[in-house]
């Protein structure tokens, strides 16, 4: 029986393994963390349907168990070739093909020092909010309920100053989703989204954006926040420009939420170098081409699934994992 190693046990990795099993190919998932699930583990609900992330994850795990697919956790990959994968501890695992499904790294908001993340109380990232929603308790640092919340789009995306030129795509809709979730918890709160553009590319997204404005009364201000500073009463004062009215504005908010972008996985550079894989200028892996070979790498026998090549949402990732598994299976059956 042919064997494929899948690097990364997130949504992409699990779906790839399932498809490979259907095609009669043995799949081994290598997961760096202590538990499979990837970024989905920290997420609360998925746009645009508010489906609990846990629901998707539980089903994927159930199928993996059903098919008896092996997941090796705490297994960090040091290098790879189409026929083998070497782990950080030096152990070499042989295989017939590799699918790289190692995902992305979340942009570190502390790099945008001017927003004060990690410096002032009450500055959060979108990932923090998901965690708080999961924990069932969204609150300011002192435990009080926020009266006014600002969400800032494009933190670490489309920003030359931090060498991240690309658009992370899903943060716009995440901002809308979180605004609605927060509005539900704090119906009295004023919620503002500060954006450059609103990019509603997926099915149901535009409708959700409209609903946020019309039904939930979430405010959208076109303009990025230039800097944030703490006030004496522990709030955050933000400076921004409303570029539609052309006026600078200052506002004190109880919570500032930074919608952090997806950047290329920190491990991608080393893996690419070990296998001779090409990367795009953004640092993400470059597929062989964007149309007919978009799940294949430039190296025969190495395939890509999910956000290792570019920011994607969960639906796209799950679809692409099937395509990658099929490409790998076809390659092995040749």
């Amino acid at each position: 029986m042919k064997k494929v190693i899948i690097i990364g046990g997130g949504a992409a990795g699990m779906q790839t393994a399932l498809r490979l099993a259907e095609r009669g190919i043995e799949a081994l998932i290598l997961e760096k963390e202590a538990e499979a699930g990837g970024k989905l583990r920290g997420w609360h609900a998925l746009f645009p349907t508010f489906t609990p992330a846990e629901e998707v994850l539980t089903e994927l795990r159930r199928r993996i168990e059903e098919k008896k697919i092996e997941i090796r956790t705490r297994s960090e990959v040091r290098s790879l070739t189409p026929k083998s994968v070497t782990l950080a501890d030096g152990q070499r695992l042989d295989c017939d093909a590799v699918v790289l499904a190692s995902g992305f790294t979340l942009f570190d908001a502390a790099i945008k020092e001017e927003y004060g993340y990690g410096l002032y109380d009450n500055v959060f990232t979108s990932a923090d909010i998901e965690r708080m929603l999961n924990e069932g308790r969204v609150a300011r640092a002192d435990g009080s309920a926020p009266q006014r919340i600002a969400l800032l789009h494009c933190v670490g995306s489309r920003d030359e100053k931090v060498c991240q030129q690309h658009c992370s795509r899903v943060c716009c809709i995440t901002g809308v989703k979180q605004a609605m979730e927060l509005k539900q918890r704090f119906p009295e709160a004023d919620i503002f989204n500060f954006y450059m553009d609103i990019r509603m590319f997926g099915p149901g997204y535009e409708e959700m954006y409209r609903e946020a404005q019309q039904k939930c009364n979430v405010h959208f201000v076109r303009g990025r926040i230039s800097e944030a500073a703490p006030t004496l009463d522990g709030r955050i004062q933000i400076k921004a420009e409303d570029t539609l009215t052309g006026r600078p504005l200052r506002m004190s908010v109880d919570m500032l939420i930074l919608l952090v972008g997806m950047r290329a996985n920190d491990d991608s550079a080393a893996l690419a170098e070990s296998a001779g894989l090409q990367r795009s200028p953004s640092g993400f892996m470059a597929p062989r081409d964007h149309f007919l070979h978009n799940v294949e790498s430039n190296v025969e026998g190495i395939f890509y699934a999910g956000t290792v090549t570019a920011p994607k949402n969960i639906g796209e990732t799950l679809n692409e994992a099937i395509a990658a598994a099929d490409a790998a299976a076809d390659y092995l059956n040749e």
Binding site: I111, E227, K239
Partner: protein, 594 residues
């Protein structure tokens, strides 16, 4: 004795034209100087500054001492040409006097003395001395040829790309001394005499060349020599060789304390034309070494400005880091000239601009010590927070000028050439400082520091960079720091180091907390982070490329933490570094002992 032959004509015409043009230029530039500058000259003339200038002219214009310091081989090349030629002229004059006593001899009589002196008895000492000097100059010419072919051999990675006028003058200059050797040797071949060089070569020619051919050769050689001289002299005032005669008055004027300013004056002409286009400024330029931008360096900027073909994209494409200025053998004030060119290209006085400034006092607190964060520190709030901790630990009462937002110090606008708008900001801030009665002004931004010290009228208010202020707190015991075994390396910000001469204070503060490792290029030679507000031409990606090269050099020290003392440098280097990058204040705040 008659001191004229037809071949002298090119020389006579050339020399006359040159002296007329050079004197004319000097006169026009001097007359156009601002009144205050003229007064400085009048006051300086009878002072000791004049003697100092004479000495400096000897050391620099003839011996080229500053080039020696940068590069000894290059220094020798320039010295052999300048000082050697000067000695040829002066010893030649003494030779004439030795032969003929003190009587009038026309200029060409001195220059072509060998040609006219065939009937005079030989003086072996002068034959030897003049040949030795000619050899000295020829060795310089040989090096110049070598430099064109292989600049690396002379320690220069790159040399200047020249304009046509320069090429004509350069070619003429290269041939002057070989032509002189040939002409004098030919004369020696016909009439005997000459030293070890011309005499020997003459004897060799005498033995091998027929009389008639030799006579033709002699005539042709003297024509060629005279023509080379004439061509060089005519081209000189329009070429880079104008520096020979411009550096002399420049040295005097500089000693009389004339300076270039943010608005162009006639004094700038002396600086512009004193540039010899030696190209020493090219190698230190990081735009050249990292980005491969090779048409914006000071040598090209000065050239373009001199010939009135300066384009904004050249004037704007400079980090104004000052690395080239520290190496300039003529000591030209390169940054100020760049600045007043930008002023001419971009200054747009508009009365209505910045009219809103008067309503913007958002300062907080009160105290004799004022703290001005500046725009960049407001964008790096960890520094601001660290300064707050330092002030608290020292028990200082602080007036916060701009913590809640304020008016820019004005330097970025000044650097971009919008000097009048910058002045509005400077006036506003000056009034603000006065209104709140501070006696000390601390800033953590070297860009603000430089403009406060140089352009603000802040008599009675001491302006300190936070590195100076923190060191003072340490020395007076108001602040105590714990010492650990972390190894730090320090990046000199341009505006703080070369710009304000502050090198030791931040180092002393770091050494109070841990070990300091110096990068390969440090202090006066420190690299620029690449994100200088002075450059509005390069792209963000190019800034990041420079940052990566700087970070690599800093990380090569093996230090665990990179420290700098400028919020802009911190932000810039962090983009290219794998190690932690912090401002000095952050490190200090983390080491405060209570």
């Amino acid at each position: 004795m008659k001191f004229y032959a037809p071949f002298c004509l090119p020389f006579i015409i050339g020399a006359t034209a040159m002296f007329a043009i050079v004197l004319g230029k000097w006169l026009v530039w001097l007359l156009r100087l601002p009144r205050a500058d003229k007064m400085l000259i009048l006051r300086g003339l009878p002072s000791r500054a004049t003697f100092g200038a004479v000495g400096e002219v000897f050391c620099e214009s003839l011996l080229h001492r500053r080039i020696f310091r940068v590069n000894p081989v290059l220094g020798y090349m320039h010295m052999s040409l300048a000082f050697g030629w000067f000695l040829l002229i002066s010893v030649g004059w003494i030779e004439t006097v030795a032969h003929l006593g003190f009587r009038y001899v026309p200029l060409q009589g001195h220059v072509f003395f060998k040609y006219f002196a065939t009937s005079l008895e030989h003086k072996p000492f002068f034959d030897f001395a003049m040949d030795l000097l000619l050899l000295f100059v020829l060795s310089g010419v040989a090096l110049a040829w070598g430099k064109r072919l292989r600049s690396k051999a002379l320690g220069m990675r790159r040399t200047t790309k020249h304009v046509l006028g320069d090429r004509i003058a350069l070619s003429a200059l290269w041939f002057i001394f070989p032509a002189r050797l040939l002409a004098e040797s030919a004369t020696c071949a016909l009439y005997g005499g000459g030293g070890f060089l011309t005499g020997s070569l003459g004897g060799w020619m005498h033995d091998r060349i027929g009389m008639l051919a030799l006579m033709n050769l002699e005539s042709a050689a003297w024509w060629f020599y005279s023509s080379c001289l004439g061509l060089f002299f005519v081209a000189l005032p329009f070429s880079r060789y104008m520096h020979i005669f411009t550096e002399i008055p420049l040295i005097f004027l500089r000693r009389y304390r004339l300076r270039s300013g943010e608005k162009a004056t006639s004094y700038d002409r002396f600086q512009l034309e004193a540039c010899s286009r030696c190209g020493i400024c090219i190698d230190p330029c990081q735009l050249q070494s990292v980005l491969g931008v090779d048409n914006v360096q000071s040598v090209y900027f000065l050239r373009d400005r001199r010939y009135k073909m300066l384009r904004p994209e050249i004037a704007d494409n400079c980090l104004m880091c000052g690395r080239c200025a520290t190496k300039c053998p003529v000591g030209i004030d390169l940054n100020t000239l760049r600045l007043n060119s930008r002023n001419r290209l971009r200054n747009l006085p508009d009365k209505r601009r910045y009219a809103y400034l008067k309503e913007t006092d958002r300062s907080q607190g009160s105290g004799k010590v004022g703290y001005f964060a500046g725009c960049m520190t407001l964008l790096t709030p960890r520094i601001l927070q660290a300064m707050e901790q330092v002030f608290t630990a020292a028990g200082e009462q602080v007036w916060w000028a701009d913590r809640d937002g304020g008016v820019c110090c004005g330097r970025p606008l000044k650097l971009s050439g919008e000097t009048d708008a910058a002045r509005k900001m400077m006036r506003y801030n000056t009034e603000l400082f006065r209104k709140h009665g501070i006696t000390t002004l601390v800033t953590s931004c070297p860009i603000c520091l430089k403009v406060f010290r140089e352009d603000y009228a802040l008599e009675g208010i001491e302006v300190l960079h936070h590195s100076e202020y923190i060191l003072r707190l340490l020395r007076t015991g108001r602040l105590r720091l714990s010492h650990g075994d972390t190894r730090y390396t320090y990046h000199d910000p341009c505006e703080l180091g070369r710009g304000s001469g502050i090198y030791d204070q931040p180092r002393a503060v770091i050494e109070a907390m841990g070990q300091l490792l110096e990068p390969a290029e440090t202090r006066e030679n420190a690299l620029c982070c690449g994100s200088s507000v002075a450059n509005t031409a390069i792209s963000d990606g190019q800034q990041a490329a420079i940052a990566r090269s700087v970070a690599a050099e800093l990380e090569a020290t093996g230090a665990e933490t990179i420290v700098t003392a400028c919020p802009l440098c911190k932000k810039a280097i962090a983009r290219g570094a794998t190690k932690e990058v912090h401002d000095l204040a952050e490190i200090v705040a983390a080491h405060i002992r209570r």
